[in-house]
């Protein structure tokens, strides 16, 4: 857990942290790979929601270079398989995610990220 699909939709939400607050930077991660069900419709449906560059860069950091720098127009099977693997099969189990803007550290324990804010970070 903390799959890259989730990482791609989480942004720092501390008070007044509205720019450069995404993507959160993984640190000291422990990664596991686990097989997931392939569903082409799900992937195609989610594609417009993704921040592509953030996804490609994060995948590279975690050692996966299978995705092209630009989102392709033709969604062939090989691309969808790679996307499937990156989005759903790479799990960050331990470590943390740091906001590139304010530096808030969101820790991950046993695959669950703690996205709670501290008192001074809420409105």
């Amino acid at each position: 857990m903390v799959r890259l699909i989730t990482h791609n939709v989480l942004a720092c939400h501390a008070k007044n942290c509205n720019t450069n607050n995404f993507p959160l930077q993984f640190k000291d991660v422990k990664v596991e790979h686990r097989e997931a069900e392939f569903n082409a419709d799900f992937l195609k449906g989610f594609l417009p929601k993704l921040e592509w560059k953030a996804l490609v860069d994060t995948a590279k950091e975690l050692g996966d270079t299978s995705l092209p720098d630009e989102q392709p127009e033709m969604l062939d099977d090989e691309f969808l398989q790679n996307l499937h693997h990156v989005l759903l099969e790479i799990h960050v189990e331990e470590g943390s995610m740091t906001c590139p803007n304010c530096g808030h550290v969101y820790p991950i324990f046993n695959g669950i990220p703690n996205m709670l804010l501290a008192e001074h970070e809420i409105g």
Partner: protein, 475 residues
């Protein structure tokens, strides 16, 4: 061509029956219509006649609807056997093909009554005109013909065995097409047999019905923002959907072992890979970067009885210099090296309900559904209560009461009917407008712990332990 089918429904959660049926019909594109006969279109009776296009559709429904016990090809009904036989004779084109050479079994049964054997025999003989020539086979027949007598409920009345025999409201007759196989899931998802559950877990039958209200299916993405121990996630994932869950209190999702409890339970049901992620956050301060992500949101919001409704913050906000002190303290880490736990304040139910609808409008794809429970004071409830929490673009499509006496909870299904894009909600309390209607679910927690003293009905002492509403959020 529309054909009438006889549906045998479970006598449970009657108000959920038709919403569930229409949800599953919508999911599979099955057009249906209810009988015009008041004797066979009452959702409080066990038998209903419903038109479908073909048998295949009946099989789909029986496989998925939790409240369907069985579906029959419908041959006739009546308030007397004369009426029934008259209709059954007209249905001959439907059963003629079984006359020649089909093994069969004939069952005569009753709802809320036991028919004496001698009359069962008489009834069976009264069908002799059908002239079935195949062999009778009680164990493995090719077809089963069933005659149901529907009697008035007589709970609380003691009566002699067989008393009132023959005084049925209505008798129905048809050929069994399929037994409802979804009911077996109630046992499969039984909370007591689950490797991880808590005092907020939702009973399995209701969780399954909720999952059906979401139109869960492979390829869909469904969110529970008050995930707790994940009761609705398992059936929803069982029907093929991917799940995302979050909770302000991570301990609810984790349990005590290293591997999170929700994942252990999901493994037990073979759906762990469909639990996409779990995350700890307060929905009123959430980290989700974009909207229109989910096909459905299914949840049992906290209403303060078993697990307090709360949000980050303090009842009384700290002065700035104190906030600065806590900030410094957090930055430097805590001496015991425990993770920082922010304080929380109570979150009033009618405010939460409105926020949930606004949040769902933001997070749902167009056409997506919000399915959630709203507790309410039975005697004070008015239909407008639901409208106090709606906003533009969100429409109620079902609202079913589960009645506990002085209080109850309504399973509300709301559809996002707009393609418009909306901003995320601000989670600010609504302005205190004198003219606005005050719904019965406002301050539900307080009313609950007062035993609904102001309500007209006998108050039932509420069970359950009050939890500290000012407790802290936990990762």
């Amino acid at each position: 061509m529309p054909t009438p089918f006889l549906f045998h429904f479970a006598q449970a959660h009657n108000e959920f029956r038709l919403p569930e049926l229409s949800s599953i019909c919508e999911l599979h594109g099955i057009p249906f219509s209810l009988s015009k006969n008041p004797q066979s279109n009452d959702p409080n009776r066990p038998f209903m006649v419903i038109e479908l296009e073909n048998e295949e559709q009946a099989r789909i429904l029986a496989k998925r609807c939790i409240l369907i016990k069985a579906i029959y090809e419908f041959y006739g009904q009546g308030s007397t056997y004369e009426e029934l036989h008259e209709e059954n004779r007209k249905s001959e084109p439907l059963w003629r093909k079984y006359v020649e050479n089909t093994s069969f079994r004939f069952l005569i049964t009753a709802y809320q009554h036991k028919i004496p054997q001698s009359r069962q025999r008489d009834v069976m003989e009264s069908f002799a005109y059908m002239g079935f020539l195949g062999k009778i086979d009680m164990k493995n027949p090719e077809i089963t013909l069933t005659c149901f007598e529907d009697y008035e409920e007589r709970t609380g009345v003691t009566r002699v065995k067989h008393e009132g025999d023959g005084d049925f409201r209505q008798v129905f007759f048809g050929r069994l097409i399929v037994d409802g196989s979804a009911r077996a899931l109630i046992g499969k998802f039984d909370v007591k047999k689950r490797v991880y559950y808590g005092n907020t877990s939702m009973e399995s039958e209701i969780s399954l019905i909720m999952a059906n209200q979401t139109l869960a299916a492979p390829g869909k993405f469904i969110y529970d923002p008050f995930m707790g121990t994940g009761s609705m996630a398992y059936p929803t994932a069982h029907f093929g959907a991917f799940i995302f869950g979050s909770d302000i209190d991570g301990r609810q999702m984790r349990g005590k072992q290293k591997e999170p409890g929700v994942l252990r339970a999901a493994k037990q049901y073979g759906v762990a890979s469909r639990i996409i992620d779990l995350s700890t956050f307060d929905i009123t301060h959430n980290p989700l970067r974009c909207g229109e992500m989910f096909d459905a949101i299914v949840t049992d919001p906290p209403y303060g009885v078993r697990a307090g409704a709360k949000r980050l913050g303090r009842k009384k906000s700290l002065p700035d210099y104190k906030k600065e002190l806590t900030r410094q303290h957090n930055l430097n880490g805590r001496p015991d090296d425990q993770p920082y736990i922010p304080p929380t304040k109570p979150y009033e139910l009618s405010h939460l309900a409105r926020d949930l609808v606004l949040l769902s409008r933001y997070l749902l794809k167009p056409g997506g559904r919000l399915v959630f429970f709203l507790p309410t004071v039975t005697d004070e409830y008015e239909e407008v209560d639901i409208h106090t929490m709606l906003c533009e673009g969100m429409e109620v499509i079902a609202n079913s009461l589960q009645d506990f006496g002085s209080w109850g909870r309504r399973l509300v299904t709301i559809r996002k009917v707009t393609k418009e894009k909306y901003p995320p909600p601000t989670f600010e309390p609504a302005p205190n407008d004198q003219d606005t209607h005050i719904p019965a679910h406002k301050d539900f927690r307080e009313k609950y712990f007062q035993g609904f003293r102001s309500s007209k009905s006998e108050s039932v002492e509420p069970e359950g332990q009050e939890q500290d509403s000012g407790s802290d959020a936990q990762q």
